[in-house]
């Protein structure tokens, strides 16, 4: 985008880059905030329907669709309380830590082909790393509140999230192994075409591991039946007992934000990302269109497809929340250590063996051969690394990644100079 401003409109590089950064950040923050608005309303309606009531009906005319906004206004006007014994600085800063961690994950989440704020070749890894930081805000909140309920909630959350990161990581590795890359855009790309190309249908092991991923994802975003950190029947409200008003709502924005993020990750890793069950954009010829507008249109369709999948994932989590009772802490740990981790390990081995026996899968015929993705990167890196040993014909680009992909910082450097 920055290059577009710079080259087509002739703006100064610093202006182009700043504007591109502002636009992308605004779009992403609207995904989080607007998503939370929609999802909270949806959650109330779904909870109502599951419990055989109507949910909000009045605010904003039909269906109570303005309910969340009304809630938000109410939260804005609430008094911002802080307990006497609390650690002021940490208490104030904790909600923002949670929110920032949840929001940062969106930087590497592609919404359609190449529509990603920060193109990274280790996107999966970055998202997992950043989402794991969300727990830090919760721990700080629980500790700084100087309340026993909060501390208990935070301890439970910490134990739970740290344990569930193990099977979650193993589940995520499987699609990475099959695709041969950690680049989320490429992982989405190799699943092009019909829905049989989706990794969830790649082999029986990935099908099972998707369900393990789902369990671990629900646990790691701290939703029921794994919401022990806020178990209101035992701990009042857990880690956010002492919070009120806008600070309290930040925790929930973070929760809904990371729900959407893990759904998005699931959509890309297992459900083809922006590649639909039916290759509509391919039939319309939009994915190979040379006309930039048509290509853009195809990408837009892909983005809608992706967001639809994410919303479906979030809805599924809500369904689970209002259907299953909350687990006890020992049951939570048992689920993780005795079921999820071994199953994930066995499925991982199975999926690797399957890929070894049927390279490329049984019925999957991606337009981009997966082996190419895998070996292309390795070969390129190996060659780049080997250059200094050679005659130095290309010594200019000898080290660093500048030959294959422009390093963000260096590009900025070159343009800004």
């Amino acid at each position: 985008m920055a290059e577009y401003f710079n080259n087509s409109w002739g703006w100064a590089p610093w202006l182009a880059y700043s504007l591109a950064a502002v636009i992308q950040a605004t779009l992403l923050i609207n995904v989080v905030a607007g998503g939370a608005l929609g999802f909270i309303w949806m959650e109330r309606k779904i909870a109502g329907r599951i419990q055989d009531r109507l949910g909000p009906t009045r605010v904003g005319g039909k269906f109570g669709w303005l309910q969340t906004l009304a809630d938000g206004l109410k939260l804005l006007t609430k008094e911002d309380l802080m307990p006497n014994g609390a650690d002021g600085m940490l208490f104030r800063i904790a909600p923002y830590v949670s929110f920032c961690a949840s929001f940062a994950a969106y930087a590497a989440l592609p919404f359609a082909f190449d529509w990603v704020a920060l193109p990274m070749n280790v996107g999966v890894f970055f998202i997992i790393a950043v989402l794991g930081l969300e727990v830090f805000g919760v721990i700080l909140a629980g500790y700084a509140s100087a309340s026993k309920w909060s501390l208990f909630g935070a301890m439970r959350e910490a134990a739970q999230v740290v344990s569930y990161e193990v099977p979650l990581g193993m589940c995520v590795v499987v699609p990475v192994v099959i695709a041969g890359t950690m680049d989320l855009v490429k992982i989405g790309q190799v699943q092009e075409g019909w829905f049989v190309n989706w990794f969830v249908l790649h082999d029986p092991f990935t099908f099972i591991i998707f369900w393990v991923y789902l369990t671990c994802a629900i646990a790691s975003v701290n939703r029921a039946p794994f919401d022990l950190a806020e178990a209101e029947s035992e701990l009042v409200a857990g880690f956010h007992t002492e919070y009120s008003g806008l600070r309290w709502s930040f925790f929930f924005m973070a929760e809904y934000g990371s729900m959407f993020a893990v759904s998005g990750l699931a959509a890309i890793l297992f459900f083809g990302g922006w590649n639909g069950p039916v290759p509509i954009t391919h039939w319309l010829g939009l994915d190979t269109a040379t006309n930039p507008f048509l290509f853009y249109l195809g990408n837009l369709l892909g983005m809608l497809n992706f967001i639809f999948k994410c919303v479906l994932g979030v809805t599924f989590m809500m369904w689970v929340r209002w259907t299953l009772p909350r687990l006890r802490i020992d049951q939570v740990m048992k689920t993780c250590l005795k079921y999820c981790t071994p199953i994930a390990a066995v499925m991982f081995l199975g999926a690797v063996l399957w890929t070894y026996c049927f390279p490329g899968g049984l019925w999957i015929h991606p337009s981009v051969p997966m082996g190419d993705v895998r070996e292309e990167w390795l070969g390129n890196t190996a060659r780049t690394a080997a250059e200094p040993a050679g005659q130095g014909g290309q010594a200019h680009f000898a080290h660093g990644a500048s030959q294959n992909e422009p390093v963000p910082g260096v590009t900025l450097n070159a343009k800004g100079g």
């Binding site: 100064a12 610093w14 880059y17 014994g85 650690d87 600085m89 940490l90 800063i93 990274m120 070749n121 280790v122 890894f125 970055f126 997992i128 790393a129 950043v130 794991g132 930081l133 727990v135 830090f136 721990i139 700080l140 500790y143 700084a144 100087a146 501390l151 935070a154 301890m155 910490a158 999230v161 740290v162 070996e375 390795l378 070969g379 890196t381 190996a382 060659r383 690394a385 080997a386 200094p388 040993a389 010594a395 200019h396 680009f397 000898a398 080290h399 660093g400 990644a401 500048s402 390093v407 963000p408 910082g409 260096v410 900025l412 450097n413 070159a414 800004g416 100079g417």
Partner: protein, 214 residues
């Protein structure tokens, strides 16, 4: 506005953040606040890695140092703390000792940092007042320093010193040291399990009827 070297600006910003919060860790006496400052300092270091284009190292920094270590630290604090807010009093002797150790490490690092010829070239160019002219080509055209890339790729199973057989990029002759590497990591796992086995409670279940607990 044209002459601003944005890469340097962000580098300075992140390194300043890292240093300031590292100092805050030293001068704070409140143990959880120290942990929080450490998170920010390590996070800023991850930012530096991202700025250098090392996405993987940056993510690794976030996952292992910021995530893992600090959650562990907070665990430790919470499980060992007696009072509500622990604050650490550092004695004079400790200050002297830690200053000695830290200062020695800093001296070694500074000395080795200024020995890198690339950086001296860079500094010379900046001193010439043509910082804007530093292009990536120029930065990398200096003599490439010995990196660990070849060794790392060898451990991952790609022998870059045998690339003279381009038609068989990943055949058996090219397989590097992946197996020994994996064996070492499995060893670590074995050690971990052994430690857990040794540290577990060795209390037998009580005979039936004597206790309510199971």
């Amino acid at each position: 506005m044209q002459a601003i070297h944005w890469h340097s600006v962000f580098f300075l910003l992140f390194s300043l953040l890292a240093c300031v919060f590292a100092l805050a860790v030293v001068f704070s006496s409140h143990i959880v606040r120290m942990a929080f400052y450490l998170v920010l300092s390590l996070g800023a270091t991850a930012g530096l890695f991202f700025l250098a284009g090392a996405d993987f190292v940056g993510s690794m920094q976030l996952l292992i140092y910021v995530g893992g270590t600090l959650v562990l630290l907070v665990f430790g604090v919470m499980l060992t703390a007696q009072g509500p807010f622990v604050s650490m009093k550092t004695r004079g002797g400790d200050w002297v000792l830690s200053a000695l150790v830290g200062g020695a490490l800093l001296a070694v690092l500074v000395q080795s940092a200024f020995k890198i010829p690339d950086w001296q070239n860079h500094a010379a160019v900046v001193a010439d007042g043509e910082s804007a002219a530093i292009s990536p080509e120029r930065m990398t055209s200096a003599q490439a320093p010995p990196t660990a890339t070849r060794l790392g790729l060898g451990l991952l199973g790609a022998r870059v010193d045998r690339l003279d057989r381009p038609e068989t990029p990943l055949t058996a002759t090219m397989a590097g040291y992946l197996l020994p590497f994996e064996i070492v990591s499995v060893h670590l796992l074995v050690v971990l399990i052994g430690a857990a086995y040794l540290a577990r409670t060795k209390r037998r279940a009580r005979p039936r009827g004597t206790g309510a607990d199971v």
